[in-house]
């Protein structure tokens, strides 16, 4: 990693050229980017009900309809009815309109005087207000109109428009937009004619999503950048620290969106978050790099930039790689999602996070080498910059004095919130994208209250041909509808049974209590003569083998809808009997079922990311406790998030459901940096408490700054026009704040009790492997045993002249030389005797290690040396579960001692 970091320093022109070329090449894909706002992307690709749904909609027409709502107190005047008639006819003339269902198109078997007369209002629009009033009364007495096309007050009506895109006359992703525009342009001409007129349906949702998406893209990115700049500048007081994330984010966004264009992966609602995500998440690595650079520069201000960057890179390389990996994994866990919307977002976000990692590693050192030293001298000064240190001091009081109480309180709080999480509800309803007080949902609510909900599904029954000419089967339809009515969940249901009941009532004298179903096959067939085929199309198939009950509702809560649907499915199956096949189908139901898939997918993703982090961290620290330790600060924010969602009744939706895995991926970054630094320090000291304190102090600034910057950046998403993105932003902002608390307060309490050693620290020592292979201390050990023994030791470095062992001191440590040379000197009567000169692989101090005795000689570094120190007590403690390694070590030490008994000088070194 260090080499990679230094590429931008050593070959700035080459790297600049590579970055520029890649940016141009990938950026050329930007023109190919496309938007996907279809509901299809919300439905699992392999939903088995999709095929049944397609069959049913082919037979009965689509459930994807646009409702034109018209409200007018004076609707029932001749003039207004003529305008309404004109409106519905104009709608019928629009391109792509397949069918219009309205007050005017619905035929009835009742004429003006209440006698038999198959007609529609279109056949005779009232010419006087008196005629209009009579018509109003007739229509209000017709159950096929009320709630469906006319409100109970008679002041609001619905024109239902079905649209088709035959042979893909326009591109599928432009179809809804075209339909929406056509209808909107037409409605504008009628705005002055009626009190209120608007459209609700897929085309409008599609258009609103596109509009909001465009505005979010333009607004959220810059706002996130502004928030980030403010946070970074306020805390780090560095122009470069503020500019660096912007530069990396800008390039990353071009790479990401360009690549998406080339890969033909569409942008969707969730993609509105990408610019803000890249800016805020990308900034965390930049912040850590800046902090490490500042620290390295502070240690030796006169050192050349390359040396400072090299030093920072040695400290940061692996943690940065790890955090890029964990963040990317957080997003990538959704790549396998069955829901297109989430999968496409996961592709975009994964590319973005990886790109950001690459760009940061290549660009940041290059810019630091060029401008770094001039801009990093004013950090850690007054004001807000002291906030992280102040926070650490406050937390230190709790950590030192009340560690158990702090942990218990946290556990209790998490427990309470976990209970609240049980109240979580799920929704996959596209309407949930929009704010509850927004125009779309307000309009939808108006339609629901005045007429019936705009969400539609079908109860489909299939039997033999002509089955639905049988009274018993018509009665079954009515029974199912009665069950639906008794559920008090759905707004309206309509079927062939309603049509037949109404005509029966009319033929039997139009008495409402005579609205019984016809009781013979012949009568049903004879009544059916009075229906035009187009009127029956939504309710019964051409050969009367299938019947359809059309249900309209306004339920968006997936769990609630699932419960009602489950009960209805059972009832339908029971009522229909064994001879019929039944299915409840509809886009709204598939979307609802997708919510279950969404939840299952997210739980899997959550388990996957937690498992991956556990494995990665366990491997990194060659200790399962390392994995467990990393999960604790990552899990606390997630529990808090789900608890808050349950408490505030925020639904799990396609955006908030992903938050868990994304947040873990991000929150664990701070933990990785903290643990890495702690372990680095552990290698140099036996005082774990001091190591923790120092690690927390050093990491406080980047952790707090990046946490606050992330929080601010995510907070910007609250300004999104999409409710689900705003919720995501608010929750993510809160999670980032909680993760600061978890990392700086809780993690250190646990860290101090679990001393971990990172594999990367050993790997990163750049020691000749032969040193380990040929060292007498490690002879005969397997690779694993050797590594374990080394990991329990401490790494120490000394400069020329430093004393490693002082003659006469009483300590039980043994050393293995990794780099450089030391000399063994014995002082007697003020006269120094040079006893030995030791090199890499050799050990010294083993007598003191085995037996408590004073050191008989001094060991001094002849040049810069690196040594592994083995403390007796620590080795006894850490190797108690590894008796073979302990035995082998003792054997080897004995062998070394035995060898040295033949030579006075080594013996002195051994007892030094």
């Amino acid at each position: 990693m260090t080499r990679l970091f230094l590429l931008g320093v050593d070959r700035p022109r080459v790297i600049a050229l590579v970055l520029f070329t890649l940016t141009v090449l990938l950026g050329s894909g930007l023109g190919r980017l496309r938007l996907d706002t279809s509901f299809d992307s919300l439905i699992p690709a392999h939903d088995p009900s999709r095929q049944i749904y397609q069959q049913v909609t082919r037979e009965f027409g689509s459930d994807n309809k646009t409702i034109i709502y018209v409200a007018e107190p004076e609707l029932w005047t001749a003039a207004r009815l003529r305008q309404l008639d004109m409106l519905q006819r104009d709608l019928g003339q629009l391109q792509f309109v397949e069918r219009i269902d309205s007050l005017f198109s619905l035929r009835t078997v009742q004429d003006d005087a209440g006698r038999i007369g198959e007609r529609s209002i279109s056949d005779r629009i009232p010419r006087t207000d008196a005629e209009a009033r009579i018509l109003r009364e007739q229509i209000l007495s017709n159950p096929l109109y009320v709630g469906n096309f006319l409100s109970r007050t008679g002041e609001a009506t619905a024109i239902i428009v079905s649209v088709v895109n035959p042979d893909q006359a326009v591109a599928e992703d432009e179809f809804n937009q075209t339909v929406f525009s056509n209808i909107e342009t037409l409605l504008a001409r009628y705005e002055n004619q009626f009190q209120r007129v608007f459209q609700v349906g897929s085309p409008r949702i599609d258009a609103e999503i596109r509009g909001s998406l465009s505005r979010d893209f333009v607004r959220l990115g810059p706002l996130a950048a502004l928030a980030l700049l403010s946070a970074v500048f306020l805390f780090l007081r560095s122009a470069l620290a503020a500019a660096l994330p912007l530069a990396t984010s800008f390039i990353t966004l071009i790479w990401t969106f360009g690549l998406l264009g080339w890969l033909n992966v569409p942008l969707n609602v969730l993609s509105a978050m990408i610019p803000a995500l890249v800016i805020v998440i990308g900034s965390t690595e930049d912040t850590h790099i800046m902090a490490a650079f500042a620290k390295a520069a502070a240690g030796d201000a006169r050192a050349p930039a390359r040396a400072i960057i090299g030093k920072a890179a040695r400290q940061l390389g692996v943690p940065v790689a790890l955090t890029v990996l964990t963040t990317t994994l957080g997003f990538a866990t959704n790549l396998a999602s069955d829901i297109g919307l989430i999968r496409d977002f996961a592709v975009a976000a994964t590319i973005a996070m990886l790109s950001n990692g690459v760009v940061t590693v290549l660009l940041a050192p290059m810019l630091l080498a060029r401008f770094g030293q001039a801009t990093t001298t004013r950090s850690a000064s007054a004001g807000l910059a002291r906030f992280p240190a102040w926070l650490v001091q406050r937390f230190a009081v709790l950590q030192d004095r009340h560690p158990a109480a702090t942990i218990l309180l946290t556990v209790a709080l998490c427990g309470v919130l976990a209970l609240q999480a049980a109240r979580l509800h799920i929704t996959n309803d596209p309407f949930s994208y929009f704010p509850a007080d927004g125009k779309l949902l307000t309009d939808t609510q108006i339609v629901h209250e005045d007429l019936a909900g705009v969400r539609v599904f079908f109860v489909n029954l299939q039997a033999r041909p002509d089955a639905f000419r049988e009274p018993a089967n018509i009665a079954r339809l009515a029974q199912i509808q009665a069950f639906i009515a008794n559920q008090h969940a759905f707004d309206l249901s309509l079927s062939l049974a309603d049509q037949l009941a109404f005509i029966n009532r009319v033929f039997r004298g139009d008495k409402p209590d005579a609205a019984l179903l016809p009781d013979s096959r012949e009568l049903i067939s004879q009544y059916l003569l009075f229906f035009h085929r187009s009127e029956l199309e939504p309710y019964v198939s051409h050969d009367f083998s299938q019947a359809n009950i059309v249900v309209r509702h306004n339920i968006s809560d997936s769990r609630q809808l699932s419960a009602y649907i489950q009960a209805l499915e059972n009832a339908v199956s029971r009522i229909a009997g064994p001879d019929m096949r039944t299915a409840l189908v509809g886009e709204s139901l598939m979307l609802n079922r997708a919510a279950d898939s969404l939840m299952a997918g997210q739980l899997q993703a959550l388990a996957l990311i937690l498992g991956l982090i556990f494995v990665i961290m366990s491997v990194m620290f060659t200790d399962l406790r390392g994995g467990a330790l990393a999960l604790i600060p990552a899990s606390i924010p997630i529990i808090v998030m789900f608890g808050v969602m349950g408490l505030l009744d925020i639904a799990l939706n396609p955006a908030t459901a992903m938050l868990g895995v994304i947040a873990i991926g991000i929150a664990v970054d701070g933990t990785v940096h903290l643990l890495s630094r702690y372990n680095d320090l552990c290698r140099r000291t036996s005082d774990d408490q001091a190591a923790v304190r120092q690690a927390v102090t050093e990491q406080a600034t980047p952790l707090v700054v990046s946490g606050l910057a992330l929080s601010l950046g995510f907070g910007v998403l609250m300004l999104s026009e999409f409710a689900i993105i705003a919720q995501f932003g608010a929750l993510a902002a809160a999670i980032m704040l909680v993760s600061i608390f978890a990392n700086l307060l809780i993690t250190p309490i646990i860290m101090v009790r679990w001393r971990l050693v990172g594999l990367h620290q050993i790997v990163g020592m750049q020691v000749d492997p032969r040193v380990f292979e040929h060292s007498p201390l490690l002879l005969g050990m397997s690779g694993y045993q050797r590594r374990k023994a080394i990991l329990i030791s401490e790494l120490h470095e000394f400069d020329a002249g430093d004393v490693l062992i002082q003659q006469g001191e009483f300590k039980r440590s043994m050393y293995m030389l990794l780099e450089g040379e030391v000399e063994v000197i014995q002082t007697e009567n003020g006269e120094e005797s040079h006893l030995a000169r030791l090199g890499p692989g050799e050990i010294f101090g083993e007598v003191g290690y085995l037996h408590a005795a004073r050191r008989t000689a001094m060991v001094r570094a002849l040049e810069h040396v690196a040594v592994l120190r083995f403390d007796h007590d620590k080795m006894q403690s850490d190797l108690r579960h590894f008796p073979r390694i302990a035995a082998k070590l003792h054997d080897n030490i004995s062998m070394v001692l035995k060898d040295r008994t033949g030579s006075n000088i080594p013996h002195q070194a051994a007892s030094a």
């Binding site: 001749a78 003529r82 008639d85 004109m86 006819r89 104009d90 019928g92 003339q93 069918r99 219009i100 198109s105 035929r107 004429d111 003006d112 005087a113 006698r115 038999i116 007369g117 198959e118 007609r119 279109s122 056949d123 005779r124 629009i125 010419r127 000419r469 049988e470 009274p471 018993a472 033929f507 016809p518 009781d519 013979s520 096959r521 012949e522 009568l523 067939s525 004879q526 009544y527 059916l528 003569l529 009075f530 229906f531 035009h532 085929r533 187009s534 199309e537 051409h542």
Partner: protein, 277 residues
């Protein structure tokens, strides 16, 4: 005296002389709408007794079709009164369903429906039924029996030539137009050379096409009378089509006895159905 003229419809339709005889001059160039429509009606005046066996074919937008067998009895009297009976034979479950229309000498109509499965009583249909669809088809009663000339205001439009054939064009307006508009309800296209209405468009208030009624396969049934053996109504909105194909046509009093236009005859021949369920 019974006048019998039995014509196998298809045989005539397929003969060489299916085209109505041409009128050599254009005496109607300056005629107004009502005059032209009166001439059309005079030219198309039918025999007083007509019996037809029809296939009623209903075709939906997907091209799926259903066929019903129907008989039509018409009786036209010299004083302008008359009767019409449309009687369903097949499918069996609708056998006996009838639409019975009486028109008195003043032009007033009374329409009744008989549904054997409903009971012995005929149900009176409203007056608006004349323009309403007939029993699930796209045809109205007027389409089947012809509109009343005194029920509309006829206004002549500019002649049109379509596919090298000249047409007189006459709009039919409501007698009582609305306060601020007077859109035509129908637009008739009349063959110039035979005064036969070959096409009738039903229009909406904005003059846009709702339905198109076309007549085909004309049969010369005597004198200047040519009758279509195939009527087609296409609904421009639903894209459904209804076809009436004349399978057999007989102009004979024996085939159209007065008693067929009575409830008694219907009940006797198609007694009310007992509930089978």
């Amino acid at each position: 005296m019974a006048m019998a003229l039995v014509a196998p419809a298809h045989a005539v339709a397929e003969s060489a002389g299916t085209r109505p005889q041409a009128v050599q001059t254009d005496p109607w160039a300056d005629a107004d709408g009502p005059s032209l429509m009166r001439a059309v009606r005079e030219r198309g005046r039918q025999y007083p007794y007509a019996y037809e066996e029809l296939a009623m074919i209903l075709i939906d937008k997907e091209g799926r079709h259903r066929t019903r067998r129907v008989r039509r009895f018409t009786r036209a009297r010299a004083d302008g009164s008359g009767e019409l009976l449309v009687l369903f034979d097949l499918p069996e479950t609708v056998g006996g369903v009838a639409l019975l229309a009486h028109r008195d000498r003043d032009g007033r109509s009374r329409t009744s429906l008989y549904l054997p499965a409903l009971g012995p009583d005929l149900v009176e249909a409203g007056t608006s039924a004349t323009r309403a669809s007939v029993l699930g088809t796209d045809f109205s009663v007027e389409d089947l029996v012809g509109e009343r000339l005194d029920g509309y205001r006829f206004m002549r439009r500019a002649d049109e030539t379509i596919s090298d054939t000249g047409y007189y064009v006459v709009d039919a307006h409501a007698l009582d137009p609305g306060p601020d508009e007077d859109p035509p309800l129908y637009r008739h296209y009349i063959l110039k050379d035979s005064l036969i209405v070959i096409r009738t468009d039903t229009l909406d208030a904005a003059g846009r096409l709702l339905k198109r009624h076309t007549r085909h396969d004309f049969q010369h049934v005597g004198g200047q009378i040519w009758l279509p053996n195939l009527l087609m109504m296409r609904d421009a909105v639903t894209r459904h089509r209804s076809l009436l194909r004349v399978e057999r046509r007989v102009f004979s009093r024996d085939y159209v006895p007065d008693e067929v236009f009575s409830a008694t005859w219907l009940r006797r021949n198609y007694p009310p159905v007992e509930t089978t369920e």
